[in-house]
């Protein structure tokens, strides 16, 4: 099994290397290398998954392996794989969606000048995500986490000639980095206390009470920052809608299987680390995200943007699921969402491919032209809206039940459920809005409509496969059995007091389930009906209401002004600070240095003048004085030797005379 894990990881990597270096010279620019590698990885993943299903044990660990990687002497950093049920699920989801996206891209990206590079990046993306799923330690997850960021940067900015794409890719990377720093800080806290990165050892250390209380809460929240970035949670969700600048299959990949799933997966993987306070934080972040994104999605006109906000909203659901203790629900929603969201994106890509626009204003009535796309899209929409018995129904219902159960045990936190329920209705509304605006009614842009056609087979096959997977009623039973909320106590040698809020919830869970199920069906139906009234039967004019609720509409249209807010605050402050520091450096610090230089020069000039006037002056004075004396005495030097002799004689006589006295 470890061999297949290694292969799963290496296949896309090798494909990436081949594509980057020789892809251009391969036949068909090597799309088959990447695609083939991905399908091979899919086959291996399915093998692992079948093993897991065959054993049918809750939270079963199928295989582990570790290698010594970085050895500092006192500290070892290992690299290893941990394959349990969760990994098996994720592997299948990632490889399945990824290979379908590969297949789909062959049609979608046909004729792009950087075709081979596109496939290289796709492979890199899959590699990063698979690595993230497979590794058994925090350090490894952080590495692949960043690599996912890199791949998304490359793919979102794939059409980098467009400024908007270049901006979006940069924004995605930097926003993610902000979250990553938090995550890194969380890892640092855990590592500094436990001295290891390995999940199991960290969990064991926590279970043994080596770390707890506020510090653990802080560590958990910091770890979750990473997920806020990657899974586009409030307040770092702003990068995701912009990421629509990438090619549509990439959006599908990002939104379904790879990037955004990473955050949820990470929280699921490290679930036992979160204290009740940390989980509460997660739940509220998720709630806010779910609501904000859902409301924004109502008014957007760009089909991909609506889908992007729906992704953010659904990610919020997953976080609420995890945060309220619905471990299974959250992760199950991740799985189901991966399929129907991939389907929605690929479906929208199919539409965009046909009409060459993303504005829903210019679509309409495409049902007849693109039947496969329409029907698969509809299935996905029903699923995301939570209509029985599609997969979305089961997962969303589980989350709602979890939130309700949480609210029933802690009445103060009932708003979580209420908001979530409301958002579920909104979700149904705006999803059907897409369907009605795109596929039904009269074509609003005749020329584009005439031009439209059903997409080629490489694009429709993935749609059909995903549509089948979106149905999947039977899934829920398996998942519930195989992915059970892990207990911290099971990791440690003695029971600690870190996380214990599951027990009392168990009782209310059943009654919560029934209430949640009914209410969710009701709101979904209401949402769909309202949507139909407005956009299908057109009994209520959306434009008129938009006009009536102008301020709200503008507010939503501008996405709560988050971008503007960040531009005005964080970005501006950062740029200001950078300019300030640079000016400070040039003017003050360097100014001091240059000033010191100038001062020294001035001082030396002063010194020089003192030297010239004072010291040298004294020397010159002595010389001049002697010179003056000389000039006065020169008269004695007649040059006449006889005069000299006279003087000498005179002096001798004088000597004699003086001697007498």
């Amino acid at each position: 099994m470890i061999t297949s894990a290694i292969l799963i990881l290496l296949l896309p990597l090798v494909a990436f290397i081949i594509q980057i270096f020789v892809g251009k010279r391969l036949p068909r620019k090597g799309d088959w290398v990447s695609t083939g590698a991905m399908f091979a990885a899919l086959a291996l993943s399915v093998g692992i998954f079948i093993d897991a299903v065959a054993q049918y044990e809750p939270n079963n660990v199928l295989a582990t392996a570790t290698w010594d990687w970085i050895n500092f002497g006192p500290v070892h950093v290992t690299f290893g794989f941990l394959i349990d049920n969760l990994t098996a699920f994720m592997l299948v989801v990632v490889t399945l969606v990824s290979s379908l996206v590969h297949l789909y891209s062959i049609g979608y990206m046909h004729g792009d000048p950087r075709y081979n590079r596109y496939f290289a990046y796709l492979s890199l993306f899959s590699f990063s995500m698979l690595g993230l799923v497979l590794v058994d330690n925090l350090f490894g997850i952080y590495i692949f986490w960043e690599l996912v960021g890199l791949s998304s940067y490359l793919l979102i900015g794939f059409w980098f000639e467009k400024d908007s794409a270049a901006n979006a890719s940069k924004k995605a990377f930097i926003t993610n980095r902000v979250g990553d720093v938090g995550m890194f800080a969380g890892i640092m806290i855990l590592f500094s206390i436990t001295g290891t990165f390995s999940f199991n050892e960290v969990f064991a250390a926590v279970a043994d009470g080596h770390v707890g209380g506020t510090l653990l809460t802080v560590a958990g929240i910091l770890l979750f920052f990473g997920a806020i970035g990657k899974s586009a949670q409030f307040p770092l969700h702003v990068w995701l809608p912009d990421a629509m600048e990438g090619p549509t299959p990439v959006s599908a990949l990002i939104h379904a299987a790879t990037m955004v799933a990473a955050g949820v997966y990470m929280v699921g993987r490290t679930f036992v680390l979160y204290t009740p306070d940390a989980l509460l934080f997660i739940a509220y972040i998720g709630t806010i995200t779910a609501f904000i994104a859902a409301t924004i999605a109502i008014v957007q006109m760009d089909i991909k943007r609506v889908l992007a906000y729906s992704t953010i909203s659904q990610l919020g659901y997953m976080m609420v699921g995890l945060g309220t203790g619905g471990y299974t629900a959250g992760l199950f929603h991740l799985t189901t969402h991966a399929f129907f969201k991939a389907l929605l994106f690929l479906g929208s890509g199919s539409v965009i491919h046909a009409v060459h626009t993303q504005e829903m204003d210019e679509m309409g009535g495409l049902r007849k032209k693109m039947p496969i796309t329409f029907w698969t899209f509809l299935i996905a929409t029903l699923s995301i809206s939570g209509v029985f018995p599609l997969s979305g129904f089961w997962s969303k219902d589980a989350i709602l039940a979890s939130a309700l159960g949480f609210g029933m045990t802690h009445p103060a936190h009932m708003p979580i459920f209420v908001v979530l329920l409301l958002s579920a209705g909104v979700t149904a509304f705006y999803m059907f809005r897409i369907v009605f605006l795109t596929f039904t009614g009269e074509p609003r842009d005749k020329k584009k409509y005439d031009h439209a056609h059903e997409s080629p087979l490489t694009m429709t096959i993935p749609l059909v496969v995903l549509a089948v997977l979106s149905v999947g009623t039977i899934w829920w039973g398996w998942v519930e059995h195989m992915l059970v909320k892990p207990e911290l106590a099971s990791y440690g040698s003695h029971v600690a007091s870190a996380v214990e809020h599951a027990a009392e919830e168990h009782g209310v869970a059943h009654s919560a389930h029934t209430i949640a199920m009914f209410s969710s069906v009701v709101v979904a139906t209401l949402g769909i009906l309202l949507s139909a009234v407005v956009y299908f039967w057109r009994k209520i004019s959306a434009d008129a209401w938009a006009e009536k609720l102008k301020p709200i509409h503008t507010f939503l249209w501008n996405k709560y002004y988050f971008d503007e807010l960040y531009a005005a605050t964080i970005i501006r402050v950062t740029l200001f600070k950078s300019r300030l520091f640079a000016a400070f450096d040039l003017k003050i610090i360097d100014g001091i240095v240059n000033g010191t230089g100038r001062l020294t020069a001035a001082f030396s000039r002063l010194q020089g003048s003192i030297d010239l006037r004072g010291v040298d002056g004294a020397v010159n004075f002595v010389a001049r004085f002697v010179g003056y004396l000389g000039s006065q005495l020169r008269g004695l030097q007649t040059g006449n030797i006889q005069a000299y002799i006279m003087m000498a004689l005179f002096a001798v006589v004088l000597l004699f005379v003086f001697q007498q006295f």
């Binding site: 990687w69 970085i70 050895n71 500092f72 002497g73 006192p74 500290v75 350090f139 952080y142 590495i143 692949f144 960043e146 690599l147 890199l150 940067y153 900015g157 980098f160 000639e161 467009k162 400024d163 270049a166 901006n167 940069k170 990377f173 930097i174 980095r177 902000v178 990553d180 720093v181 890194f184 800080a185 640092m188 806290i189 590592f191 500094s192 206390i193 950062t574 740029l575 600070k577 950078s578 300019r579 300030l580 520091f581 640079a582 000016a583 450096d585 610090i589 360097d590 001091i592 240095v593 240059n594 230089g597």
Partner: protein
């Protein structure tokens, strides 16, 4: 192979002598001589690497001769795990820089002679085990550098703010700054000399091994306060070289005005001498100075300032080379932070960072040189969309940029992460808050590198550069080895780590032991 360290140090001097006998018009011969001698040096460095015993913290390949017996000054060379990566780096970058200097036209003979002399100085610093000898090499390095920046750097010009800047200005700034630091080092060296006695003869000694042995310390060195002062003096001497805020302003000037190859050497090797000095001299000779814990905090805070301040300053730069220069300040801050925690992780991470920054920043400066040779300017905003025109160049730049911003899989990621982890996990000092704030530098770094990349390479192609030639073979020859090292050490850092860890773990033990048990009662 006897006296291999002498050979590796003085090979370039032989090259200098040969070059002096070559008529100045045989330009290619001069270049080839320089390449051959640095090449031989590289071969010797690789030989050292192959024969280096990673299992011991002792000094290896020792050579010890009496030099000036009346003052007990010795010619004493030797390397351990701390010096070997620096020796490798020096030899490697010198060799590469010969090729990066291929296009130099102005008094080529003088240039290569100076370059090789500089090479000897650098190598000597990393091999010397006698403090006096170390000091001599330290100063020997200065002079050729002065001329290389002053003569072959950019010409003098008057800036809008009225300052006269340019090569000569930068050269004298660099020279005076370093000399200023050297004075502190000299004082510290002399105080140590007069208060340390050779255990055998009883006389004063410059022998580093004797200086490191606390048992030999006497006189005023027994006074803890004096030791602090000496530590501080040494720190200033080395901090200027690192450079540590606020002694850093020589760096942007020197890097920007110097010719490409010299920038590479400056950033790749010379900056490391500061931290090398701290690890070779300050820490082992005065290990107990950290007992005055403000030194550790001071170092960590200076590291933090370097990281954030350098990053912010880099973001505001319009000149690509200046941006890279400030990024060096930021990255050297990580080294400082890693060292300050006195942990195995941090110390090893810091030395890895020294090496990785050497390769990474060398690549960045070489790449700046490539575009400067073509477009004759370095204004970031003056480009645009170059990725379409120069895809290979763009790929190389993105590799270097991503290495700079610490992307996993590239070497500086490992060293940065472990420097941070080491500082965070310090058992002696609570550096946790400082470290967490420092990690914000990662975001800023990502921001300015990506922003720069976008402005230069993405978007519509600037029509002015529609026929810019792609990077050529000679340039690729200098870049690809660096790229390979960066990727290799990013995926598998063990070869580098194995080389250094024995010595550094030993050093950590020594320093820790001297500072007593946990100071703050952490954990």
């Amino acid at each position: 192979m006897n006296n291999v360290l002498t050979w590796i140090t003085f090979l370039p001097v032989i090259g200098v002598l040969l070059i002096l006998f070559v008529p100045k018009n045989s330009k290619n011969l001069i270049r080839v001589i320089a390449a051959v001698f640095t090449g031989l040096q590289l071969v010797l460095a690789v030989w050292l690497y192959m024969n280096f015993d990673t299992g011991t913290a002792e000094f290896q390949f020792k050579e010890q001769y009496s030099w000036i017996p009346s003052f007990n000054i010795e010619y004493f060379m030797g390397i351990d795990g701390l010096s070997i990566p620096m020796v490798l780096l020096t030899a490697f970058l010198s060799f590469i820089c010969i090729f990066a200097s291929w296009g130099i036209d102005k008094s080529l003979k003088g240039y290569f002679a100076m370059f090789l002399l500089l090479d000897t100085g650098m190598m000597g610093v990393f091999c010397a085990l006698d403090f006096f000898l170390f000091y001599i090499f330290w100063e020997v390095m200065l002079l050729p550098m002065y001329f290389l920046i002053g003569i072959w750097g950019s010409p003098s010009r008057k800036d809008p703010d009225g300052m006269v800047r340019g090569g000569p200005y930068a050269a004298i700034k660099f020279f005076l700054y370093t000399l200023f630091g050297s004075i502190f080092m000299l004082i510290a060296m002399l105080v140590m000399y007069f208060n340390v006695s050779d255990p055998v003869t009883g006389g004063h000694t410059f022998n580093m091994l004797h200086l490191m042995d606390q048992a030999n310390h006497g006189g005023v060195l027994a006074d803890f306060n004096i030791r602090l002062w000496i530590y501080a003096a040494l720190f200033i001497g080395f901090a200027i070289k690192v450079p540590v805020f606020p002694f850093h302003t020589w760096l942007p000037d020197a890097h920007v005005e110097a010719p490409t190859a010299i920038s590479v050497i400056l950033a790749g090797v010379l900056l490391k001498m500061g931290t090398y000095g701290m690890l070779r001299i300050s820490f082992p000779m005065l290990p107990d100075a950290m007992k005055w814990e403000y030194f550790a905090y001071g170092m960590a805070i200076l590291g933090l300032i370097n990281i954030l301040y350098g990053a912010f300053c880099a973001m505001a730069q319009k000149d690509l080379k200046k941006l890279v220069a400030y990024s060096s300040i930021s990255h050297m801050g990580i080294v400082l932070l890693g060292m300050s925690g006195l942990t195995s992780l941090g110390m090893n991470g810091a030395v890895m960072q020294m090496f990785n920054h050497g390769t990474g920043t060398a690549m960045l400066f070489l790449l700046v040189g490539v575009i400067y040779d073509r477009a004759h300017h370095r204004q970031i905003d003056g480009f645009g969309g170059l990725a379409v025109r120069m895809p290979i160049y763009a790929a190389m730049v993105s590799l270097a940029f991503f290495a700079g911003l610490g992307l996993p899989g590239l070497s500086s990621f490992m060293s940065e992460v472990f420097s941070f982890l080491g500082a965070f996990g310090s058992e002696l000092f609570d550096l946790r808050l400082i470290t967490i704030i420092s990690t914000l530098g990662i975001v800023i770094t990502a921001a300015y590198f990506l922003w720069t990349f976008q402005r230069m390479f993405l978007g519509e192609l600037n029509p002015k550069y529609a026929d810019l030639p792609e990077i050529n073979g000679r340039e690729l020859f200098t870049l690809i080895p660096l790229g390979i090292i960066i990727i290799f050490l990013g995926v598998y850092p063990a070869p580098l780590l194995d080389l250094i860890k024995t010595s550094l773990n030993e050093l950590v033990e020594v320093v820790k032991a001297a500072n007593g048990p946990t100071l703050l009662g952490l954990h």
